[in-house]
Amino acid sequence: MARWGMVIDLDKCTGCQACTIVCKVENNVPHGSPEEQKWRREIYWNKVIAVTNGKYPRVNTQLIPMPCMHCDDAPCVTVCPAKATYRREDGIIMQDFRKCIGCKYCIVACPYGARSFNSKEQEEKEYHRHDLPPDRLAWGPWPFPSRTHGVVEKCTFCFHRIDQGIKEGKKIGEEVVPACVEDCPAHARFFGDLDDTESEVSRLLSSRGWSRLREGLGTKPKVYYLSK
């Protein structure tokens, strides 16, 4: 079984936020108003943070895109009381919006701030894709990230693209990748099977120095950052 992971090359990332925007377009995540931005109510599935170290004029700036880390030992999976968040066999931490009761314990537990609470119904105009409301007749997680309000949402590694790609027999990691990987103008993001020795991500991880965020917490995140 594959173990999907992401590798982000910090040397190439320019902090352009294209990944943030395209993720919102792909997954029907609203943009939100400046007011919501100020009160941190805006939903971000992928965010890009800037971290500075040092004193002017010798300041080191790191631009770090942060999707959901899809940790192998995810604290959000441990704390979800309704089993709405679970680790799929291929390593993706799925969010089943149908089971989520909106208790927000996972937002508290996530060390990477990857989760956001959705307080708006999808049919409202802030959402981009009005043609894709949740298909309430289907069981289990909906095939496209559709959700009603009152649930917690996060990056899904575009599982809908991966599942569709597997069904069509395409190669995941080369032909089919998450939206943020596909549309990064600097080609700084890579996606693939961490357990496959021939995949691009494995090759990158074996040849460059890498690190992960908040390593000390033991969450085993699957998003690796190649150092500058």
Partner: protein, 395 residues
């Protein structure tokens, strides 16, 4: 002197006004809930950085009060402290009302409360590794146990009551230690993370529960125009002092541990940052320092007024303690990467007070108050001594 229990008459003007006010406040609270449900949680003060706001602070506070109240009332039966027997029925009833209020508080804060039935399909639909789910089981069981306990008390079955008292003490301790564990087991938030959290919560529960019990006793007896035994109040005061000291030890050790790396920065922010005034003024001042002075000072510690004053201070202070745990604990920016995180991601969150949230919180308290006065009127909860010729003064 034979101890019996009677209801209050509840026909006075004061009672009717109180009843009407509580009903009105509860209705306003319910309407606020409807607004928050329909419009979304953006009407509450919560955000993605502080996901748990006033309803959760109030909920954990109420659970503490309930568990504390129950443990202390059970002292009558388990340790045979006869002087607390008069307050035993009210204490258990109060515990039931408080845990009901707490469960309503949680339900109001959920994004989709109708799906919470899943938490009760144990092992199949709920995640037994989650402290939230385990607490759901504990609260449900606690509610049932308290009801059965009160039932045995009303039915005058002393042996069964004693068994229930032992079970109730143990279960109540588990309940509030579980609540503490919800926070204490989260490694991501340095201010929450501590193995002392369950014990700290238990100590806070007992202190605040006892304080509330004392205040309510004095109030009810005053409103019903009955005399209260002075010795009970003084002995409750001594117990309160012991519990405050115990709580202070836990909080002190926890904060001191966190002043050493790696949790040093968040703790310094808590102690000196925007929430420090609430911490030092309300939590340390009202919950620990001032009550201790009142209960220890030779001039005051023999007066009932001092005990009542200390109890009021403790009730306020421990509410502030819950607030200072939840809100700053969540507000502190997560340290994703060493260095200074620029922009909103590096800023501590802020927690605005919104009217919807305020009215919803008041509504929870009003609902509990309503249940309390209805119970006082229709159930035999207040103690009365038959042969001393004490009759409830007609109102």
């Amino acid at each position: 002197m034979h101890l019996t229990f009677t209801p209050i008459e509840g026909k006075s003007r004061n009672f009717s006004t109180l009843e009407a006010t509580l009903m009105a406040l509860s209705l306003v609270g319910l309407m606020s809930f409807v607004i928050s449900y329909v419009k979304g949680h953006e009407t509450l003060g919560t955000s993605n950085v502080i996901p748990w706001g006033m309803p959760i602070v109030i909920t954990i506070y109420l659970i503490g009060l309930s568990a504390g109240s129950l443990i202390l009332s059970s002292l009558t039966y388990v340790f045979k402290k006869e002087e607390y027997r008069p307050i035993s029925r009210i204490a258990v009833f109060l515990a039931i009302v408080l845990i009901f209020g707490a469960m309503v508080g949680i339900a109001l804060d959920l994004g989709r409360p109708e799906k919470s039935w899943r938490l009760f399909i144990f092992f199949a639909l709920n995640n037994m590794r989650s402290m939230f789910a385990i607490n759901g089981i504990l609260y449900g069981g606690y509610f049932v146990i308290s009801l059965v306990y009160l039932g045995f008390m009303f039915a005058d079955k002393p042996k069964s009551t004693k068994i229930m008292a032992v079970i109730a003490i143990g279960w109540a301790a588990l309940v509030h230690m579980g609540t503490g564990a919800i926070f204490g087991f989260i490694a991501a938030r340095p201010i929450f993370y501590s193995p002392l959290r369950p014990l700290e919560f238990l100590a806070a529960a007992m202190a605040s529960g006892l304080a509330l019990l004392t205040i309510l006793l004095v109030l009810i007896f005053k409103l019903a125009k009955r005399d209260l035994n002075r010795d009970i109040i003084l002995s409750l005061g001594k117990l309160l002092l012991a519990l405050i000291i115990l709580l202070f030890i836990f909080v002190f050790v926890d904060k001191l541990t966190h002043l050493y790396s790696p949790h040093r920065e968040p703790m310094i922010w808590l102690l000196t940052g925007p929430f420090s005034s609430i911490f030092w003024g309300l939590q340390v001042g009202c919950a620990y320092v001032l009550p201790t002075i009142l209960l220890v000072h030779p001039r005051y510690n023999k007066t009932t007024k001092a005990v009542i004053g200390a109890a009021i201070l403790v009730v306020i202070g421990i509410f502030a303690e819950r607030f200072v745990l939840v809100i700053p604990g969540a507000a502190y920016p997560l340290p994703f990467y060493p260095g200074k995180i620029e922009g909103i991601w590096g800023q501590p969150g802020s927690f605005p007070f919104t009217p919807v949230e305020i009215f919803m919180s008041l509504g929870i308290f009003a609902l509990m108050g309503l249940f309390l006065i209805l119970g006082l009127k229709h159930l035999e909860l207040l103690p009365a001594y038959e042969s001393s010729g004490q009759k409830p003064a007609s109102q």
